[in-house]
C-alpha cells in the first residue's frame, strides 16, 4: 500500500484522489461487485417472496399498488445514480482526472435502465388507477427529461476521447438542475402524481408499516444491484482506457 495513503488526510479530496488511482480502484471494485451482487440476489429473493406472499393490498387500489415495490426503488435509483454521475463529473473537472469521467460514463447505462423501468412501471400503474398511461404533468415531464439527459449523455460519451467525455460531463452537470425539480415538482405545483409517501429527511412515511418493510428491502436490492452493475462497467471501462 502507498505510504501516503496511510497518513491521516485532512482533506477528503486528497484521499479520494489516492483511492481513484486505477491500480487501487480496480481490486476494490472487484470486491464491491461480488459482495453487492450476492447481497442484491438475497434482497431480491427475500423482498420478492415477502411482496408476493405477505405484503397487504392497498385499501383503494388493491393488488395494483404492488407495482410500487418496483416503481419507487427504480425512481430513487435513477435520481441517485444521476447525482453520483454528476458528482464524479464535477470532481473530474476540479481535479482533472480522466478516470472520473470514465467512472461517470460507466454509471449512466444503469441509471438509464432504472429511469426507463420507472417510466414504464409508472405508466402501467397509471392506467388502472388514474385512467391514463401518460399525462404531461410536472413530475412525469421532468422524469422524461431525466431520461432524455441520460440518453444524451450516453450518446455524447460513446468514445474515450477527452473532448467527448468533457462534452458529456457538461450535459450531466447542467442536468443536475433537473434533480431538485423532479423532487419538488409534486410539492410546488398541482400534479396528477401524488406527493412523496416517504420523506427521508423528516423520517416520515404515509405507508402502512407492513408495506414499508417490503419497500425498504426492495430499495436495498435495487441499490446493491446498481452497485454491482456499475462496478462491473467501471472495471471494464477502466481496463479498456488503460490498455489504449
Amino acid at each position: 500500500m502507498d505510504k501516503d495513503f496511510n497518513k491521516k488526510d485532512w482533506s477528503l479530496f486528497f484521499s479520494l484522489t489516492k483511492i481513484l488511482k486505477i491500480k487501487t480502484i480496480i481490486p476494490l471494485l472487484n470486491k464491491i461487485q461480488k459482495i453487492s451482487f450476492l447481497l442484491s440476489i438475497i434482497a431480491f429473493l427475500v423482498g420478492g417472496t415477502y411482496i408476493i406472499l405477505y405484503a397487504p393490498d392497498d385499501v383503494l387500489q388493491g393488488s395494483v399498488a404492488k407495482i410500487m415495490y418496483i416503481h419507487v426503488p427504480a425512481s430513487w435509483g435513477a435520481l441517485a445514480l444521476y447525482l453520483v454521475m454528476g458528482v464524479f463529473n464535477i470532481f473530474g473537472f476540479i481535479k482533472r482526472l480522466p478516470q472520473c469521467f470514465i467512472i461517470a460514463k460507466s454509471i449512466a447505462p444503469t441509471g438509464l435502465a432504472y429511469c426507463l423501468i420507472s417510466l414504464i412501471t409508472g405508466s402501467l400503474w397509471g392506467k388502472p388507477t388514474w385512467g391514463t398511461y401518460w399525462v404531461w404533468d410536472a413530475r412525469l415531464t421532468s422524469m422524461l427529461i431525466l431520461c432524455a439527459l441520460y440518453i444524451g449523455y450516453i450518446i455524447s460519451t460513446q468514445t474515450y476521447e477527452s473532448s467527448k467525455l468533457t462534452l458529456g460531463a457538461y450535459i450531466s452537470v447542467l442536468g443536475l438542475l433537473n434533480i431538485p425539480i423532479i423532487k419538488g415538482s409534486v410539492d410546488w405545483w398541482f400534479t396528477l402524481h401524488q406527493p412523496a409517501s416517504i420523506q427521508l429527511l423528516k423520517l416520515k412515511s404515509t405507508l402502512d408499516p407492513s408495506m414499508l418493510i417490503g419497500l425498504v428491502i426492495m430499495a436495498f436490492a435495487f441499490a446493491f444491484y446498481a452497485a454491482a452493475m456499475c462496478s462491473c462497467k467501471i472495471i471494464h471501462n477502466l481496463n479498456f482506457f488503460k490498455s489504449r
Partner: protein, 119 residues
C-alpha cells in the same frame, strides 16, 4: 447549450407546469369562454353522484373534501369509462369545457394521495 436546455425546459413546462386548476378558480375566471378546454381538479362531493339519461353521469366537484361554499363547487357531466379509483370524496381531475355553469367532461382522471393503507 445552457440556453438551449433552458429554452427546451421552459417550452415543455410553460403550458403544463400547473396541471389543473381548482373549481373556485374556474368559477372566478371572468373571461372564460366555452371554446377553451380546462383541466379542473377537486374532490367528488358525498352524495352528489347521479345517473342521468343514456349513461351520462352527473356529479359535483369542489375545492375541499367537505364543502359548504357554492363558489367552490361545479357540476360535471360525463359519459365514458371511469377510472377504478373514482368515487365519493376521491380526488379527481376532469378535462373538458365549461358551458352554462355545467362542466362537460370528456376525460376523467383520478388522483391518488400519498397514503397507502392495509386492506
Amino acid at each position: 447549450m445552457t440556453g438551449g436546455f433552458l429554452t427546451w425546459g421552459s417550452i415543455l413546462y410553460r403550458e403544463n407546469i400547473v396541471f389543473f386548476i381548482k373549481p373556485s378558480e374556474l368559477i372566478a375566471q371572468k373571461n372564460s369562454t366555452s371554446q377553451k378546454s380546462y383541466k379542473v381538479g377537486g374532490y367528488v362531493l358525498k352524495g352528489s353522484i347521479k345517473k342521468r339519461i343514456q349513461g351520462t353521469l352527473e356529479f359535483q366537484i369542489s375545492d375541499h373534501i367537505y364543502n359548504l361554499d357554492k363558489n367552490n363547487t361545479i357540476t360535471v357531466h360525463y359519459n365514458g369509462v371511469l377510472p377504478n379509483l373514482f368515487g365519493e370524496q376521491q380526488q379527481i381531475v376532469v378535462q373538458g369545457r365549461y358551458i352554462n355553469h355545467i362542466f362537460l367532461a370528456n376525460i376523467v382522471l383520478s388522483k391518488h394521495d400519498e397514503y397507502y393503507r392495509k386492506k
